[in-house]
């Protein structure tokens, strides 16, 4: 079998462009997911059943259905109905953000609930109110414990952003498919695309390991 390197060289600028979009999609997805996920975690921990209920089902739906189905649903149905129109990139960002918010919410909830009850009791016994206990005692500890699983979520999201290719969002895999169909070759473009994903996820792993060490102040 001959390996046609010139396909890779020719498509390299597009692969890099796609890579940038892949990074953008997953970074925005994980950031928005963290912000939303935080409030969803609080909602799901509410002692009031009526408040808890919608958050529980939000999480159930987003974790219990395939991401690709969610993407189609948002791209072809929900977003056009809400906005009148949508682009592939918008749809991917919205879907990834919402999807990761459900996972992040569970990560934060687990983090908060793993903190010993004595911590909030001690803080309350000193006269701190609910907000202060959350802000100064529980969240910093829960956040630190959430870094490793959040890192995993980031990596999963980065790989899942490749589903954007299914609605022609010009991210990394999209350009791999473009090269494959132009040259009717599968090895070169898909190996290259896989390699770039691997470089991204490994760099991310190293970055996260570094952060974990940095935040481990003790």
């Amino acid at each position: 079998m001959d390996f046609r390197f010139e396909i890779i060289t020719e498509y390299m600028p597009f692969f890099l462009e796609g890579m940038m979009l892949t990074i953008l999609l997953s970074v925005v997805g994980v950031l928005v997911g963290c912000i939303l996920g935080f409030f969803i975690a609080l909602g799901k921990m509410s002692p009031v059943l009526l408040i808890r209920f919608p958050f529980t089902w939000y999480i159930n739906f987003l974790r219990g259905t395939p991401l690709l189905v969610q993407l189609f649903l948002f791209h072809y149905a929900v977003l056009p109905a809400l906005l009148g129109d949508t682009t592939a990139v918008t749809s991917v960002i919205v879907t990834l953000s919402l999807n990761s918010s459900a996972y992040v919410a569970e990560i934060f909830r687990a983090g908060l609930q793993s903190i010993d009850k004595g911590q909030s009791e001690a803080a309350h016994s000193l006269g701190m109110n609910k907000f202060q206990v959350m802000r100064y005692v529980l969240l910093p500890q829960a956040f630190k414990r959430s870094i490793p699983p959040l890192g995993n979520e980031f990596i999963v999201l980065l790989k899942d952003s490749s589903l954007g290719a299914m609605i022609a969002a010009p991210e990394l895999l999209y350009w791999g498919r473009a090269a494959a169909s132009q040259y009717l070759r599968v090895w070169e473009p898909y190996l290259m695309v896989a390699l770039i994903y691997l470089v991204l996820t490994l760099s991310l792993t190293y970055l996260l390991n570094y952060l974990e060490r940095r935040f481990d102040v003790k």
């Binding site: 010993d116 004595g118 911590q119 009791e121 001690a122 803080a123 309350h124 016994s125 000193l126 006269g127 701190m128 109110n129 202060q132 100064y136 005692v137 910093p140 500890q141 630190k144 102040v217 003790k218």
Partner: protein, 240 residues
């Protein structure tokens, strides 16, 4: 200073406190003893509303704290509590552990809070540990920091729930020493403990609890040497 009337506490079907009536005067040191599960911790936790009260009233300094309209955060700042498991904040240094509530609850300026915290650390003999994290302290040191942290709020009353039970024997003394000092300075204290020596030496009164009731209370010597109830006798024969 503290008046407890017909205090009841239930967890679901479990009646933990059945009918507690206690009166504690200013500057008094009251030691609470009793078998495991008798409700000692629950009683203490009701005094600063970490546990909600099912029925009855608790009045502190003329204020009925069990009144629903009461600002509990304000009350809790006046009642310090020290736990068996220390419950220091692991992500904060020793100094920050003490200054955090002073700054957030009392609204002290940071420098003032730090100066006061250093004073308190000196008082418990740990000024050289101000900038370390709790993880690097021994159990006895942690408990002394926890006491300093509670004192930072300038409480009127200090509650201690088995403050030395989680400590290695050689560290019990240093914590009891700090508590004795506090008692000498006139702090009103309620102490759940198995340290009968401490009860005898420092306690003004000992309360014996069993099965959700106060069975008997008296001055330490009188209670230890001349218990009136069978249950008190049975318990004391095991621990003395």
């Amino acid at each position: 200073m503290i008046t407890v009337k017909h205090l009841k506490k239930t967890f679901g079907d479990l009646e933990v406190l059945k009918d507690i009536n206690v009166e504690i005067k200013q500057k008094e040191v009251v030691v609470v003893i009793g078998p495991s599960g008798s409700g000692k911790s629950t009683f203490l936790r009701c005094l600063n509303l970490i546990e909600s009260v099912t029925d009855g009233t608790v009045t502190i300094d003329g204020q009925e704290i069990t009144d629903k309209k009461m600002d509990i955060n304000k009350l809790r700042a006046e009642v310090g509590m020290v736990f068996q498991q220390f419950n220091l904040f692991p992500h904060k240094t020793v100094l920050q552990n003490i200054t955090l509530p002073m700054i957030t609850v009392r609204k002290w300026k940071k420098q003032d809070a730090e100066a006061k915290a250093m004073e308190l650390l000196a008082k418990v003999g740990l000024q050289d540990k101000a900038s370390v994290y709790p993880d690097s302290l021994s159990g006895g040191q942690k408990q002394r920091v926890a006491i300093a942290r509670a004192l930072g709020m300038e409480p009127k009353i200090m509650l201690f729930d088995e403050p030395t039970s989680a400590l290695d024997p050689e560290m019990v003394g240093e914590v009891l020493e700090v508590m004795k000092q506090l008692a000498k300075e006139g702090m009103t204290m309620v102490v759940v403990t198995h340290e009968m020596g401490f009860a005898r030496e420092v306690g003004d009164r000992v309360i014996f609890m069993d099965d959700g009731y106060v069975v008997e209370e008296n001055e330490p010597i009188a209670l230890f040497q001349n218990p009136q109830h069978e249950r008190t006798k049975a318990f004391l024969s095991k621990v003395l």
